[in-house]
Assembly symmetry: C2
Homo-oligomer: 159 residues x 2
């Protein structure tokens, strides 16, 4: 699989929704729940995480709600993931170095590539902002990779 958690999905949906609102217009957790089938309590917690991390600001009480607290162009996907799910860890191998008994003790030429793929992914998400998602304009320079492009869906699989 390899999919984003629901929390991240809810966070991105919420941020995108708020990014479409005018300055000063508040969005409630309830509104988001109803429009996007988000369980209310979870949605609320996600919004609270986003608030604690400064992406949005909240107004309490009746007529309260949330609004973006930052320019949509300055909120990137890496940070959103980190805010609601904790730091990205792509491969355990890159983290649990103590559990690795590779032949070379000081330098493992397997682990290193795994760390790289992890870092690259973080950097990739770091280049995608909420504004990019709104505009559908994710920077696409990385398409000029050095192996053949292919049409989807992917053809391999066990399941």
């Amino acid at each position: 699989m390899f999919k984003m958690s629901k929390k991240v999905e809810y966070a991105l949906i919420s941020l995108l929704y708020m990014a479409e609102r005018k300055e000063g217009e508040l969005t409630t957790a309830r509104e988001l729940s109803e429009n996007f089938n988000i369980p209310q309590e979870i949605g609320g917690k996600v919004l609270q995480s986003l608030t604690r991390n400064g992406f949005i600001s909240s107004v309490q009480g009746v007529k309260g709600g949330y609004q973006l607290a930052m320019d949509a162009a300055k909120i990137n996907v890496t940070d959103v993931i980190a805010a609601v799910d904790g730091p990205l860890q792509v491969v355990g191998c890159a983290v649990e170095a103590d559990k690795c008994n590779c032949e070379q003790l000081s330098y493992c030429n397997i682990r290193s590539p795994m760390e790289i793929i992890q870092l690259k992914l973080i950097e990739f998400f770091n280049t995608i902002s909420i504004k990019d998602l709104q505009k559908n304009t994710i920077p696409s320079a990385f398409f000029h990779g050095n192996i053949e492009q292919r049409s989807y869906p992917v053809k391999f699989s066990d399941q």
Copy 2:
């Protein structure tokens, strides 16, 4: 979190290991298990998936083992993930269209961005080959994104 499954990790480690071998040199499941702390049965299954999908070939019997069946430059991470874990699905929203009751019925300007992020990630992994991982030369054109770069680790988080 957002990390790769162990199976993908084992697959990449195994492929990298075999890519370092000379043409015709076989690698056994046992060898991989011992060198990289991979549970033997799981490791075996992963290798069998890779075999079924044509990335490696197997030789049965005593003195048997596995070897790359393709140029390391032609094996990309997207396909490896698909082979051992099934097709990538980053956001359920992009897949479970029926469960989405967004206001606009025919066109959802929230779901569309989610689909895009999913496709972009697939394409990103598609640009990374086993050979790139060996050489530590992942195409890095995408670094010229349009939002500020930042040093890691990421500063936000709840946990």
